[in-house]
């Protein structure tokens, strides 16, 4: 009983199937772990203990009636960006501190239909804007490997909770790296699917052409089980794609013989020696598994950060204009007139980074600047995307580090936005091109985890999960647990 947090999702599912364990017992176990260990990490905004026990009872009833799906009765944590019916959905912001979502996001509904049990809503950078989980209205999240360090962001709470074994898995979102980067900094496996693979209905929008929902788990095999339920066409999302969802678990063990892996030359320029050594070790593992490696170049890739910091703020300035103090969210006291209502509600409700990005977006879309900035960025976006397409003509997957460094100190970068933005240097390209990406643990630097990133062509999630799983059968980085959370 005491070791339930060390088991994989399939092991937990097997125990539930054999009736060695009920979902209620499993849920109580994780709720008690959360009560004991979460406060020190500040990983969670809302713990939904009562609803979790009701969900667990419902799962046990379904099992008694003969059901046996892989996620039936398995607990989870949702990033607080997903609307959850009847439960506060804050998006890490004062603007939505009082917002009780009146419906479930499709991601939430699908996992609920599969019988997964929601334990809590995870802390996150405000409106998903950040790379360190320091912009949250609810305070920073601490990295369980070293609580003076950030867990990464914006899905910092989901990553920290998964790394601390407070939940078997957690949902996240990735617009510029917000699943892959925190997965790397906390030593867990994080998957960002292809744009359009997972429904964005009910997922509070940041940048509509970049946002994608995904999963944190402690192995690619676990992530595959969750992605299976999350992925698929949703008529309620105009950008949802009808491409059929393959059986991700069925191909996890396929041999990698003949797999052509591309090393991005631009990723390796200026890489720190420790980081470079870990990546070289990972490449040795892949060659031993039968893959071949070759260098490829994406010459426009260094432009991905400035491109993103035009496109994403532009889209966010539009998406966040709905927060106006009229129908929901924060409203200022005693507004004098409509303009005062808008300005003060928004000025008070949004934190500094959000306001910075709204204003950057407003500027690049404004009359006289639209062509020079936004249109220009959209053209460079195409150049970057074309570079990826050309690379995938020569190789099957791209490999490189997920982050330039391991986790940095809380407070170290928060005052300089551009320094913070450069943390996303390796992840942003995949968002601009809409490609699937995955980060898996590949070692430690200064006792802090580092991640290996795999990027594939559109809808190659099965291949990414297969490559990650095979690496995880040959190594055990993903089994390491932070001290105090074993």
């Amino acid at each position: 009983m005491t070791m339930l947090h060390t088991l994989s999702i399939s092991e937990l599912s097997a125990r539930l199937a054999r009736k060695e364990l009920s979902s209620v017992e499993l849920t109580r176990f994780f709720l008690s772990r959360i009560e004991r260990l979460s406060p020190a990490l500040n990983a969670l905004i809302t713990v939904t203990a009562e609803q979790a026990l009701q969900g667990a009872q419902a799962a046990d009833r379904r099992r008694a009636a003969g059901e046996n799906g892989p996620l039936l009765g398995i607990p989870l944590i949702h990033k607080d960006i997903f609307c959850t019916d009847g439960v506060r959905t804050s998006c890490g912001s004062r603007m939505l501190d009082n917002f009780i979502a009146p419906y479930d996001a499709t991601v939430v509904a699908r996992l609920k239909a599969a019988g997964a049990v929601m334990l809590a809503k995870a802390n996150m950078d405000e409106f998903a804007m950040g790379s360190s989980n320091e912009t949250s209205y609810y305070g920073p999240v601490k990295n369980p490997w070293n609580t003076a360090k950030v867990p990464g962001g914006s899905s910092g709470g989901s990553a920290a909770a998964t790394a601390a074994r407070l939940t078997p898995f957690a949902t996240g979102t990735d617009t510029g790296g917000s699943i892959r980067q925190p997965a790397a900094l906390t030593g867990v496996t994080g998957v960002k699917p292809t744009y359009g693979r997972v429904s964005r209905y009910g997922m509070i929008a940041f940048a509509s052409s970049l946002d994608q929902a995904g999963v944190f788990a402690r192995s690619a095999a676990d992530a595959a089980m969750v992605l299976q339920v999350m992925a698929g066409f949703d008529p309620k999302d105009s950008t949802s794609v009808e491409t059929p969802v393959p059986d991700y678990s069925a191909t996890l063990d396929e041999p990698l013989k003949g797999l052509k892996i591309g090393l991005l030359r631009e990723f390796f320029d200026g890489l720190e020696p420790h980081n470079a050594a870990l990546i070289q070790d990972a490449l040795k593992v892949y060659r031993a598994l039968g893959a071949t490696t070759q260098e490829v170049s994406l010459p426009h890739l260094p432009l991905s950060v400035p491109t993103y910091y035009v496109v994403a703020p532009a889209e966010c300035s539009s998406n966040l204009s709905r927060f106006d103090g009229v129908r929901f969210g924060h409203r200022c006291e005693a507004p004098k007139d409509l303009m005062d209502l808008y300005k003060r509600s928004r000025g008070e409700g949004f934190g500094a980074e959000v306001k910075r990005r709204i204003m950057t977006g407003t500027y690049v879309l404004s009359a006289g600047y639209f062509d020079a900035y936004y249109l220009k960025a959209q053209k460079v976006r195409r150049l970057i995307t074309d570079d990826f397409r050309a690379a995938f003509g020569q190789v099957d997957l791209l490999i490189g580090p997920t982050t330039p460094t391991p986790a940095f100190d809380i407070g170290a970068k928060i005052d300089d936005p551009v320094t913070m933005y450069l943390n996303d240097i390796y992840t942003i390209g995949a968002n601009l091109a809409g490609l699937p990406g995955l980060s898996l643990p590949c070692g430690f630097v200064d006792e802090l985890p580092m991640g290996l990133q795999l990027i594939g062509p559109h809808f190659s999630e099965a291949k990414l999960l297969n490559a990650a799983h095979r690496f995880q059968t040959a190594t055990d980085w993903h089994r390491h647990t932070p001290r105090g959370y074993e």
Partner: protein
């Protein structure tokens, strides 16, 4: 790649694109955001540094390149039949409203 970008940074800052306080006030007004007098200098500095950083894009040759709005090339906006598919849940949705009266959202007077 980090070295590539860091190598470029000094060149960007020798020819800085600085926003003025008036620029930021105008942007804040367009964005309907109240910025206090104390906060203003910080935003002027940080917004200038961001715009400076993204100005790098102006050096990229993009003649004859089509802008890319999103990654789903060839995807068309799906339409659905014009039939009612939702039920009235106004009271539930208005549960989050700051001020409601007779099913309407209350705001400061707009029309004199």
């Amino acid at each position: 790649m980090l070295t590539l970008i860091l190598r470029e940074l000094p060149r960007i800052f020798t020819n800085p694109m600085t926003l003025t306080r008036q620029d930021v006030e105008k942007i804040a007004h367009l964005a309907r955001l109240s910025i206090t007098a104390d906060e203003m200098p910080v935003y002027v500095t940080s917004l200038s540094s961001i715009i400076n950083f993204v100005d790098e894009l102006s050096k990229v040759p993009t003649q004859d390149v089509q802008p890319m709005a999103h990654p789903l090339e060839g995807q068309r906006q799906r339409l659905r039949a014009d039939v009612v598919s939702e039920s009235d849940a106004r009271d539930k949705y208005q549960g989050n409203a700051p001020a409601v009266q007779a099913g309407l959202y209350v705001v400061p007077r707009v029309i004199e």
